[in-house]
Symmetry: C2
């Protein structure tokens, strides 16, 4: 498998299926692990980091889950390709920026991937479409079990899995769900949700994770603490609260449509009209318009396009994806023109 | 002829034809006249005003030009109908507000009309489509000559025609052209045009004349002084300067399309897309969007609709027209919904 093969493939989370897929875009579960007997990344020198990376690559290669996987050294990835991987949520922005001795493994189906020598030696993640916490966790757990046959992870009977940052220690687990909270955003209930979940051990982030803004009303909600609870407790808590948020979003959508029918229809149809008409469009405006259309599909206002197509356009119009699809570097201004051409083509505008 | 007959008729200036019609929407020429031996409107009491109105109606009725005309007393016109007449540029806002002893005569083809007991006893106007100053003047002159056979106008050998306000004295003439100056507005050259024409004895106003704002880059340019020059001199000066403005607008459009092709196309197509998609839309947003589409038609960017249709939508979506077409009063909020329905129907959106 080559990196360019990913372009023609569709990320699992793009399917637009799975439970609650009209509101929950995707579920991601990751665990942090470190090799026993090897200096942690931040403490190791250059030589030790390189040795660790080689050990990690060798260990992962032994796992049957990664038989046909893509193994990458971050320093050998071009800038556009790194951005491409960030856009696909396969790499964190930090991992893309600090490239020395860092690695990435992407499983063939693009469901599982591993960051090597990130803050921790191993950051194994699984992304599933829709609201699928348990399934994603089961997949992570299976892979983790298999990996531990080929490598020995640092584990304390008192603390659990040891990690570079204490917030990850214990289970090393972070589960997050990407929610599309249009109605809660429109009715200014988002801040209330944010306050409420903070008190329940959860946190809310933007479209590209930590430190990024929410664009197009997409919010990532994840557990904040990994220590002191079992994996099951953490996942149960997350699942329970997200279920509540989803049902609140759903109620608000229905209510809003009842009370503000024309305003909602107007907003959605204008977004659709603009997306189908624009001749220059930025990536962030595209996300905002697609967000409204996504809501419109759920509310039965937009009927000639489905969520899968919207998810696809959302991903493929990101700057690096656009360039990968075109097969060449495109300067930002031309990108905004190409993006509009691409969108109109995808939406079947004559 | 009844007032409601106007709804199904199309105002002459809507034809979207005539010289320079892509930039010059319509030309209007009016003369102010007063009856000899009758107190001027502002000096007359109620009884005298009523007597004057009757004399005026009787005089106009004798003219063959107004054989099949509509004769209206403003106080007998409903509020919606008055607004309807203002939207058609057949009545000034002031004439619609101060209703006592005021009259209106609309010639069958809606090309010529007369305000009676406005600031002056007679304000005779002719509207032609496109940039047609001389033709409009000829029509006014002919009607004026005919009217003067049936009524005696106040005339001084020293000053010319006498009027209530000295700025109208002399010829009593005001000629104005409604210009669509999108490119000059987009490139911020409008203020320069305004300064330049002020020094040349012209003035620039908004869509509904004196004291109104320019909406959708429509500007009315007219002569400021009626005294001290012959009618020919006044019209020549106006025509000469407007020709220059039109050619400047045309050059800027072409230039702008060359330099900012995608920006222009983007703006025009988004406007068209929004107009075809909206479910709620105000009258003023409609004018702005139609303005961009009108430009798009001239530049060959929009091909499936013509200027005539745009002019028609522009007029028929005005608040009173919308209600007249619907045949009932509609509250503002519902009007914004109806307006969007009407526009989509007119533009053939499924």
């Amino acid at each position: 498998m080559r990196l360019d093969d990913l372009i023609v493939k569709r990320s699992e989370w793009l399917r637009g299926e799975g439970p609650e897929s009209s509101i929950a875009m995707s579920t991601r579960v990751r665990v942090a692990r470190n090799l026993k007997g090897r200096l942690y990344f931040s403490r190791a020198n250059k030589k030790e980091r390189e040795e660790t990376l080689n050990i990690l690559f060798a260990g992962v290669k032994k796992s049957s889950f990664f038989k046909d996987a893509l193994f990458l050294k971050v320093r050998e990835i071009s800038d556009t390709d790194k951005q491409f991987l960030v856009e696909r949520h396969l790499m964190s922005r930090e991992h893309a920026e600090d490239i020395a001795s860092k690695g990435l493994v992407i499983e063939e189906k693009e469901i599982a991937s591993i960051l090597l020598n990130e803050e921790d030696h191993i950051r194994l993640q699984v992304i599933e479409s829709g609201f699928n916490v348990l399934e994603a966790w089961k997949a992570v757990d299976n892979i983790d079990t298999d990996l531990s046959k080929h490598m020995q992870f640092d584990f304390s009977n008192k603390f659990g899995y040891l990690t570079s940052c204490p917030t990850n220690t214990g289970t090393g687990l972070r589960a997050s769900v990407m929610l599309h909270l249009s109605a809660l955003a429109m009715t200014s209930q988002i801040d209330g949700v944010f306050d409420a979940i903070s008190k329940l051990g959860l946190t809310m982030r933007g479209f590209y994770g930590e430190g990024t803004e929410a664009i197009g009303d997409f919010y990532q909600i994840s557990n904040q603490v990994a220590l002191g609870y079992s994996e099951e407790d953490i996942l149960d808590n997350l699942e329970r609260i997200i279920k509540k948020i989803i049902s609140r979003e759903r109620e608000t959508r229905i209510n809003f449509l009842r009370i503000k029918k024309f305003e909602i229809e107007d907003r959605i149809q204008r977004s659709y009209g603009t997306l189908r008409s624009a001749k220059i469009i930025t990536s962030s405006e595209t996300i905002k318009l697609l967000s409204a259309i996504r809501l419109g599909i759920d509310l039965g206002i937009i009927k000639d396009v489905d969520i899968k197509k919207i998810n696809e356009v959302l991903l493929l119009t990101q700057p690096a994806h656009l360039q990968k699809v075109a097969g060449k570097e495109i300067p930002p201004y031309e990108r905004d023109i190409k993006r509009s051409d691409f969108i109109r083509e995808k939406l079947g505008v004559a």
